[in-house]
Amino acid sequence: MAARKEAMMNAVRQEMALQNAQELMNKANESCYAKCVTRPGDSLSSTEQTCLSRCLDRYLDAFTIVSRTYTTRIGKEREARDPAALS
């Protein structure tokens, strides 16, 4: 039973991580396509490829910064509302 419970929890965690990664990739692609491929040609030029590759790296950086700032802020708000509930 414990093994079945663990398996179920892991399946949920994996599904969440997958969803999150997919959403991040979709958003990165949308943002970077808009930025880097302004006039679509016959194929991706090397300039466009360089731009896309850098843009993807920066998008992931942005996600990290936003994530860190957001969680820090939420922690602060929680602390301000209920200083005793520090876990």
Partner: protein, 86 residues
């Protein structure tokens, strides 16, 4: 596999799912904010690194967004108290 979980395990799983759902909500806010702040702060062609002004813009963008959200709630409350909304 048709064996049911005992009551304690069911409770534990319910708590676990609640927590995961809260996490998913937070992740989706972070995704949304990343998009909003990317559009506001990263205006040129993406470089090899973020400049320090881009970095601070992104961090400020998150904090000010949340400030705005709290501010809006306050405004609405004030309007409601003044009878602006019926």
């Amino acid at each position: 596999m048709d064996q049911k979980f005992d009551e304690a395990t069911q409770k534990e799983l319910a708590t676990f799912l609640e927590r995961e759902q809260a996490m998913a909500k937070m992740q989706s806010s972070i995704q949304q904010l990343t998009g909003i702040c990317w559009n506001k702060c990263v205006t040129g062609t993406p470089g090899k690194y973020f400049s320090s002004s881009e970095q601070s813009c992104l961090a400020n963008c998150v904090d000010r967004f949340l400030d705005s959200s709290l501010f809006m709630v306050k405004q609405i409350e004030e309007k409601r108290n003044q009878g602006g909304f019926s």
